[in-house]
């Protein structure tokens, strides 16, 4: 029996300005290589006859009636094509400006791209925009096809002119194309056979161009990045699941999770229907591991080796392309997603808009419109782990979600240091060398029926604030929880007695470290705090991270910050009611009750047959 010969799989996107002949090129390629299923050509030709219009190769893949009627591709089609021991997924992306997000969806999954330019029309707006997006999407292999050569009588000078213009454009955005190829998809010139009409061209045909693209080597040598996707406990095993974004993970490795700085060793790599279990996994693989210690880590954290940690921070600079229905503004609230991590964020500065057509820089006015590319500074509400795109692509790019929709994508050009960088570094050093007993935070949570949490009560009349804090402690302890009231006043005469009064930064730091110690015992720590500034909250949060911090704002005093508050209670409400509200919020955040893996309502042994 014949065993199939070696095969490679390559995804190639076809992009370019609307009506420059992308779908026709694709249709022609399939027809001329005999790659269409039996009857497909005849079926489409019959539909054309029925509708009384001339057959075009583009119709083969423009599946929607509307696409054929308007003669444009609306959405990316993925088609499969084999040639000389290579299997191709060809992604036909739409060229109309209206459907840019479809083009991005298609092109993002390609290993290489063919950018089509109409010889007669020359370089157009989307030719440039698509070229720029390809580079942002990280697609490095680009071939440019100068199509519709039949419309310019197959003249070399026309071809050379288009080539020179587009080459110059690509050079301006630091992209070097693999090659330029003249063709006429409609007439079938230089598609599968060298063209007799263009004897002046001795380069490859379109089919050869496909064969000349190379597979990207897997980045196994890169530092390990294993973003945590989910934690499963379907049986006795507690499995941390995720897909390795870069590098290699080996059983026995000591993993550091960022940004929580938790550490543990890999005990096993689990798998279904695999015997024996693997001892190593590499980039691209969706795996599950068990650890030697039951540490509490959550989706969004990135596991790595201690020697090659990712950056952790709240602020960075990046290049973003925006596809949202409404403009991106510095006023808007967005959610940033980077691999499996997610954090609310704001755009603090729009540095400049990169005009795709001229590549000049436009005055931003704090707004990025649809289909524009911009340089921004973004700040997340809490720290996330990331890498600069130039050092690691998969953990150096992100998307922005506006309301329900993924509305933008971007790459991180550099981390921006903020005033908490020192504290973050202190926390990381402290956590990595922390001496841990045999009882981990997860075991404590299991026993106590709640996770550790810091509840900061701010604002309001001092007496009311203190009363609320005391009452909350009593109610929690009465409910069987482990809670402790930590008034900053208690530090002042003791731990801080050596300090000069007025060293606010140091006293906040000490308070954060004391809270961190108490929280490590698994308690809910309640702190009445007066006169806090936004940066104080962030300083404390940085030190106690990843323990959740809940800020309760009492009343409206004006001088206290309210933007950081998670719960608002009124100073005139009965204290009992405010306590109830705070506990409700803690329940909804899975801080109270047996929080771990509790979310599922589904029962396994429920056969309805």
């Amino acid at each position: 029996m014949v065993v199939a010969t070696a095969t490679e799989h390559l995804s190639i996107a076809i992009v370019g300005h609307v009506d420059h002949g992308k779908s026709t090129l694709l249709g022609r390629l399939y027809a001329d290589t005999g790659s269409l299923p039996d009857g497909k050509l005849e079926k489409v030709q019959a539909i054309c006859r029925q509708q009384g219009k001339e057959f075009e190769y583009a119709f083969l893949f423009d599946a929607f009636l509307e696409e054929q009627e308007q003669g444009i591709t609306i959405d990316t089609a993925r088609t499969f094509f084999s040639w000389q021991n290579r299997r191709y997924i060809i992604i036909d992306a739409p060229g109309h400006k209206e459907f840019l997000k479809n083009m991005v969806s298609g092109a993002a999954r390609a290993d290489a791209a063919i950018l089509v330019i109409d010889a007669a029309e020359g370089v157009q707006e989307q030719s440039k925009r698509h070229g720029y997006l390809l580079s942002l999407l990280g697609i490095r292999q680009i071939a440019v096809v100068v199509n519709k050569m039949d419309l310019v009588d197959y003249r070399e000078d026309v071809y050379r002119k288009v080539e020179a213009e587009y080459r110059a454009f690509l050079a301006s955005i630091n992209v070097t194309p693999e090659r330029f190829v003249p063709a006429s998809a409609r007439m079938g010139e230089n598609i599968t056979e060298p063209s007799q009409r263009m004897p002046w061209f001795s380069g490859p045909t379109i089919l050869d161009t496909l064969a000349l693209f190379r597979m990207d080597a897997a980045p196994d040598q890169a530092p390990l990045r294993f973003p945590l996707q989910d934690v499963f406990k379907f049986d006795a095993r507690r499995i941390l699941a995720g897909r390795i974004a870069a590098g290699t993970l080996t059983v026995g490795d000591r993993l550091v999770f960022s940004p929580s700085n938790k550490t543990a060793r890999v005990r096993s790599i689990e798998a279904f229907n695999v015997d024996p279990l693997p001892l190593q996994a590499v980039a691209g693989q969706s795996i599950g591991v068990t650890l030697d210690e039951q540490i509490f880590v959550e989706r969004g954290e990135i596991a790595s080796h201690e020697a090659t940690l990712p950056l952790v921070g709240r602020t960075f600079r990046g290049n973003v392309f925006w596809m949202g229905k409404r403009p991106l503004t510095t006023e808007g609230e967005y959610v940033l997603r980077l691999s499996t991590g997610e954090a609310p964020c704001r755009v603090t500065t729009v540095h400049r808009i990169i005009d795709a057509t001229e590549l000049g820089y436009v005055d931003p006015k704090g707004v990025v419109n649809r289909n524009e590319v911009a340089e921004l500074t973004i700040q997340t509400r809490y720290p996330i782990a990331f890498d600069p795109y130039s050092s690691l692509a998969t953990t150096g790019r992100f998307v922005l979600v506006d309301e329900y929709d993924v509305a933008g994508g971007g790459i991180i050009t550099e981390a921006v240091s903020d005033e908490f960088a020192d504290l973050r570094e202190e926390a990381r050093r402290r956590d990595l060398s922390w001496v841990q007993g045999d009882v981990g935070s997860e075991l404590r949570a299991d026993h106590y029926g709640h996770r550790a949490a810091l509840v900061v009560i701010s604002g309001g009349v001092p007496s009311h604030q203190a009363a609320l804090a005391r009452r909350l402690e009593s109610v929690l302890v009465g409910d069987g929880r482990h809670a402790y009231l930590l008034d900053p006043e208690n530090l002042r005469q003791g731990l801080d007695a050596d300090m000069l009064s007025g060293d606010r930064q140091e006293s906040i730091r000490r308070f954060g470290e004391v809270a961190r110690l108490l929280l490590d015992t698994g308690q809910i720590v309640i702190c009445p705090m007066r006169g806090l500034l936004d940066e104080d909250y962030h300083a404390v949060q940085t030190l106690v991270h990843p323990v959740p911090m809940l800020v309760v704002q009492v009343g409206q005093t004006g001088s206290e910050p309210s933007s950081e508050a998670d719960i608002h209670v009124s100073g005139s409400d009965p204290i009992e009611e405010s306590c109830g509200k705070i506990m409700e919020e803690m329940r909804s955040r899975s801080l109270l009750a047996y929080a771990l893996n509790e979310k599922r309502r589904f029962r396994y042994a429920n056969y309805s047959i």
Partner: protein, 276 residues
């Protein structure tokens, strides 16, 4: 005399890459949707998908499986369904448009009419009844033109309709997982798989398949399974998975050529309206 065919290493690497992507998508779906289910038609695709779910969740299938039963399925499919469900400990739910069936709905009233009533509407009724917000399906891009334009996470509006003009962007493994109340998301982990990949994966993993896909002595087999009156068998003497794979390597006949509802614009109309 049969020789055990070894899947070559490049093909294995390709299948594992597809598997890794599908597993990632399944886990994303499970993480983001509390009310999640998976459609299972007992065909090769949705059975391979079910296997991938067991891969993703380490032998478990942590959501219910839904069979939309038109009552016209080939009887052997129902036997196979119940046997596998029991062996693998599946939570199996059956959806059926009982009103339409009581009214005598069948394909002679028009294939698109019948599919709409017994599949599209049965599915919509079922989803509404159980308030599922995420539905995992085993459709593939290479089956048919409109499926080639699908997303991994594909939103449906309140009427269950597909707005193919305005699909969400999807890149860098970031999917549409938030949505307004009343709408739902269809999840398609098999989009990148081709028919031959499915069969090679079935062979590689040794997934138990229903025998309707093989020639059982009369020189015919099914290449795609659906309702008995609207699914034609093909002429083939392939009796084993190996022989099916060899046949697929040389055929130029479309996989769904035996599926009557695909004629003309059938699928575009059906799918816009909420068909699988």
């Amino acid at each position: 005399m049969t020789t055990k065919v070894q899947t070559n290493t490049d093909t294995v690497a390709h299948l594992r890459a597809l598997e890794d992507q599908s597993v990632y998508i399944l886990r994303e779906a499970y993480k983001h949707f509390d009310d999640l289910c998976m459609l299972w038609s007992m065909g090769k695709d949705s059975t391979a998908l079910l296997w991938l779910a067991r891969k993703a969740f380490f032998g478990h299938v942590p959501f219910p499986l839904v069979h939309i039963d038109t009552s016209y399925k080939i009887p052997a499919m129902i036997e196979y369904r119940d046997r596998v469900a029991k062996e693998w400990g599946l939570n199996l739910l059956i959806g059926q448009n009982k009103d339409a069936l009581a009214d005598g709905m069948n394909y002679t009233r028009g294939r698109v009419v019948c599919c709409t009533a017994l599949k599209t509407n049965a599915l919509k009724q079922f989803l509404a009844e159980h308030s599922f917000t995420g539905v995992i399906m085993g459709i593939r891009a290479d089956e048919e033109g409109t499926r080639a334009k699908e997303r991994y996470f594909s939103p449906r509006d309140k009427g269950g309709e597909w707005d193919f003009r305005d699909q969400p962007p999807e890149f860098w493994d970031q999917y549409k997982t938030s949505f307004p109340k009343g709408t739902h998301i269809r999840i398609h982990p098999l989009l990148d798989w081709r028919e031959i990949d499915i069969w090679e994966y079935i062979r590689l993993e040794n997934i138990p398949m229903i025998d309707l896909y093989f020639d059982r002595g009369d020189g015919t087999r099914y290449r795609s399974l659906g309702c008995a009156p609207c699914t034609l068998s093909i002429k083939s003497t392939a009796r084993t998975i190996d022989e099916v794979i060899e046949e697929l390597k040389v055929t130029t006949v479309a996989e769904r050529s035996g599926r009557a509802q695909d004629e003309g614009r059938g699928m575009e109309l059906l799918r816009k309206d909420g068909y699988m």
